[in-house]
């Protein structure tokens, strides 16, 4: 079974999760091979995050008054096994937006690659 859930009461009783039971032999072999590597402690190669390449239209200002330069996906606070707390107030959000805007003005892919928290950029838009 491959599923979005885990084996906890929260997941099984209180969350929307979806899974599928797999019987395809080739898929099962691939999963078994991966599992065996992990059990044996063979290091995995993390998938590199590609540089943003899709140009999006100019973003409209959103409700809190600034035009976002980036959607900061890794600030969802979710790290595996532990959940960190993100910014709780608008001031922190604005500070982050200002930092993102500054990075947008520098506007090089190297800058973005150097900061893994920046994952999705409005490459076609003017900086705020």
């Amino acid at each position: 079974m491959i599923s979005t859930g885990d084996f906890s009461p929260t997941s099984l009783d209180h969350s929307r999760e979806l899974g599928v039971i797999v019987t395809d032999t080739s898929t099962l072999k691939a999963v078994q091979a991966l599992f065996s590597r992990d059990v044996a402690g063979i290091p995995a190669q993390p998938t590199p995050i590609p540089s943003p390449t899709v140009a999006l239209p100019t973003p409209a200002p959103i409700a809190n008054g600034y035009t976002p330069a980036y959607f900061d996906a890794s600030r969802d606070g979710h790290t595996r096994g532990h959940h960190t707390r993100g910014d709780r107030d608008t001031a922190a959000s604005r500070a982050r937006a200002n930092r993102n805007a500054a990075l947008c003005r520098r506007d090089t892919h190297q800058d973005r690659a150097a900061d893994p928290s920046l994952s999705l950029a409005y490459t076609g838009s003017p900086c705020p």
Binding site: S3, T4, I62, H78
Partner: protein, 195 residues
Amino acid sequence: MVRLVLEQQPYGMGSYAADPAYNFLQTYVGQVRWGGQLAFRYTHASYLVADGARTFIGSMSWTDTGLGANRELGLIDTDPRVASAGERVFNADWNQRKLHSAPNAVVVSPDGARARILSLIATAHKSIDIYTERLTDPAIIRALIASHDYGLQVRVVTPSDASLASVHRHHLQVNDRSPAVYGCQSHDRRRQDAA
């Protein structure tokens, strides 16, 4: 047509975590709704149905960590029954309606997943291999212990201290040292302690 259901307060955090994604997607996609008001608390499902025909179901959140650092597993399924079942669940959640009966083609929480998992464990003959972030459900732990006692090989890869405590107590084989489990503080701390 692109529609998305998002969790507003992932794992009990405030909406500050999800609001930027919601605003971003509402700007560019338009059809975005918060999930989980009636039959369940959290929208943790990460799946996608394309053209009503192809389905992606994966354990990962669609974040840098989920897609680039954690050990996660997903499947692209071309079975139209799975796509149809996924759309049925999606439409129920999109319209804030309860799912009165879970479709058989998929395993759905909180609508019968535990029974399906227990059935899968009960029908295993030789071995059970598990990746999971958390293994704390008493019924599932009891079923794994019973399988282990019956002679099946049971292996678990988990980064969770709570899971480790549960399975260690019952002598199931656990790998808590896998370098594939990135981003886990308990794992890193354990490695540091060992060093």
